[in-house]
Symmetry: C2
Subunit: 409 residues, 2 copies
């Protein structure tokens, strides 16, 4: 038979999804599995979305414009202005099939095969997949749990810049760490980006989820970066409509927008139902996010408090999004996460976590860390924390006696 | 500012969509534009689709499985068996975001940068875009209007095979030519594919549109090609639901399916609403396609008859899909199609056609040809043909006096 391509062989399986068969097997055995492994919120999708689906009055489900439905693009541009004070014209944004496609378009339009993109690690694991598909090389700069995963020193970025460096990518607030970058950190990045004439890709899909009174600062509001900045956005998390597959890419660089439109034309259009739904979601009340953020804050507090009571566990207090990276007293997070599904249960329940190894590009990093998404209601979250606590008591690869001395906090 | 990538510069604009700004300008001037340029059928989407949207009873619009919703995959596999006598298990098909994504996954999973794929030209223009994105080289083998765009001689394919050849791609029935490949033609391809150990990608998205009593023969039913064949499918044309962005990729090569799943995982999932809608569309009555095909046949007859009455125009009689490539007495189809929108009107109406140049990979080919999609009702189609007839009388670049001697038919 003909061979699979090298790219196909190299393409990493999703670390978030690769344990799915074990979870399915656990469920078939009758175990309840708490899913803390994936950013699939349990928050109800706005009623406006389903109303829009009920009220569809067209007879033919047509392609939309390749850049998205114009009325949606215009309303979205207005929404950026009124809600986030981001002043963009609708021609500076294009609707994509999820944030995933937005990042693929950006990479393919800005980077040649072999070009380098610097990303603070741990980072959203699927960036590896998009980079592999685009033949782009990820150069990691490691953020550490001791600082809560703050932006590494700019000198660390600068050390990694080569003639092949073409872009820097950050996610703000961060998936998987929950870290919310400050305006000061972003201005430091600006200076570097200008100095070396780089693109700055910023994944802002968690923009609405900022806690403890802190505000999100968008790179779109940094003057002087108009040609360099590309923002990736999505309705998936904002309106709890992951299945819509509707994202958005924003840039004031007209040449880049024209280039990305060619990629958009090749795949014809983003999903029409999802766009109609996303346009309707913009009608939610102004206080929509207040109640949701209050809920996420109370979940985060429950999680961070609960984890910090487990011996040997370290967990920073995330400032945004709905993830945290926790350090556990274990030998190997991949083994541990599989063991949780295959060999462990407590009250016939178990948990599914994402091994942090998949979020690091540097081999060997993240072996004691897991990503936890706090996307469950507090009662389930409590049970899940108890499961983890019990599991760590009996996991054969626990390292508590060895790691205790070096544990933080 | 940082440079656009070479890939971004090379990426071809869609020849089907690049004239859109001229069409928009024409409409703003008050002209009616008949769209024969894009395969957007006017056939109503099945009622079952909108009913399914009205009856949605979930509260959270979640991601689906990366390979698609299992119930849909299972029903689709049953549908292949009962309706097309194609015996596949649901694990041998994966739901994609349109046929577009299916072909991208296939190319990236099977082909390395620089590998060659042989495609009979004229071919669906967006194959160029997918090949560019995957860094794959298209090697064309020219089909000619004199044979109605039948499969070129196998010796012509064989001449083009090099150590870099990895796959052959055909579309059956063909977009843009409407040619329906016979079982005999496909068996010839089989022998070549086996001899050189190639992948055979077949785009079967028009499978349901075969005319004059002829039946579609799927490459999935060729014994001995289980590891080589990859079929691309989509609900877009079948159920007139282009905007759903739901396609499908089918292969009995398990290693390849596992590889493509990794690409699918990186983008998380295909659109949930579209999948729910597509599952509902499978409930259409058995005779659903009969009435639609009768309508397409009568449109095709009207178009082919009408075109053949225009002096200097040649048009084969397509056996499937809803396109034809017509040869016109013009100097340059790109200029002509733009002129139709910018400078021509008849009864304040004009037509939008797709220049065939974008469907050829060989430079200079297709300059006298256009692709016409017969996706309008017969009254509109009649008006459109009259527009074309009038336009050809006065187009400044008409070549009738020169081309008459060599005109066919």
């Amino acid at each position: 038979m003909p061979n699979i391509s090298i790219k196909g062989q190299t393409m990493p399986p999703s670390p978030i999804r690769k344990l799915v068969p074990y979870a399915e097997a656990a469920k078939k055995q009758g175990k309840k599995v708490y899913h803390l492994n994936i950013g699939q919120p349990d928050i109800e999708t706005p009623k406006e979305v389903f109303d829009a689906m009920r009220n569809i009055d067209f007879k033919v489900l047509e392609y939309s414009h390749s850049a998205g439905i114009e009325s949606y693009r215009k309303k979205l541009a207005e929404n950026y202005k009124s809600k986030y004070r981001i002043d963009i014209d609708f021609s500076q944004l294009m609707i994509t099939t999820g944030g995933s496609e937005a990042l693929s378009f950006a990479m393919m339009s800005c980077m040649n095969p072999g070009d380098e993109i610097i990303i603070p690690e741990p980072f959203y694991a699927n960036y590896n997949g998009f980079a592999c598909a685009a033949d782009v090389k990820i150069v990691p700069v490691t953020a550490v749990i001791e600082t809560g995963f703050a932006l590494p020193a700019i000198s660390e970025f600068e050390k990694r810049i080569t003639p092949g460096t073409k872009a820097i990518l950050i996610c703000n607030p961060n998936n998987p760490t929950g870290y919310l970058y400050s305006e000061e950190e972003l201005i430091e990045l600006k200076n570097l980006v200008i100095k070396y004439d780089l693109f700055l890709f910023v994944d802002e899909v968690y923009r609405d989820f900022c806690y403890d009174g802190r505000k999100h600062f968008s790179v779109l509001n940094i003057v002087g970066l108009e040609k360099n900045v590309v923002v990736i956005d999505s309705v998936s998390k904002r309106f709890s409509m992951c299945g819509a597959r509707v994202g958005c890419i924003i840039s004031r660089n007209a040449e880049l927008m024209n280039t990305m439109l060619k990629f958009a034309q090749a795949r014809l259009s983003p999903p029409t139902f999802g766009q109609v739904a996303s346009e309707a979601a913009l009608k939610v009340a102004d206080n929509y996010f207040e109640a949701i953020n209050a809920e996420y804050i109370s979940r985060r507090n429950l999680l961070v408090d609960g984890l910090s009571k487990i011996e040997g566990v370290t967990c920073p207090n995330p400032g945004g999004a709905f993830y945290t990276i926790a350090k556990l007293p274990i030998d190997d997070s991949d083994k541990f996460c599989q063991w949780l599904l295959e060999s462990f249960s407590f009250n016939n329940e178990t948990i599914m976590l994402a091994p942090a190894t998949g979020f690091y590009s540097t081999a060997g990093k993240g072996k004691q860390e897991v990503r936890i998404a706090y996307v469950l209601n507090k009662s389930d979250l409590n049970n899940a924390i108890q499961c983890l606590s019990e599991a760590l008591k009996i996991y054969p690869g626990k390292t508590l006696s060895k790691s205790k001395a070096s544990a933080i906090g």
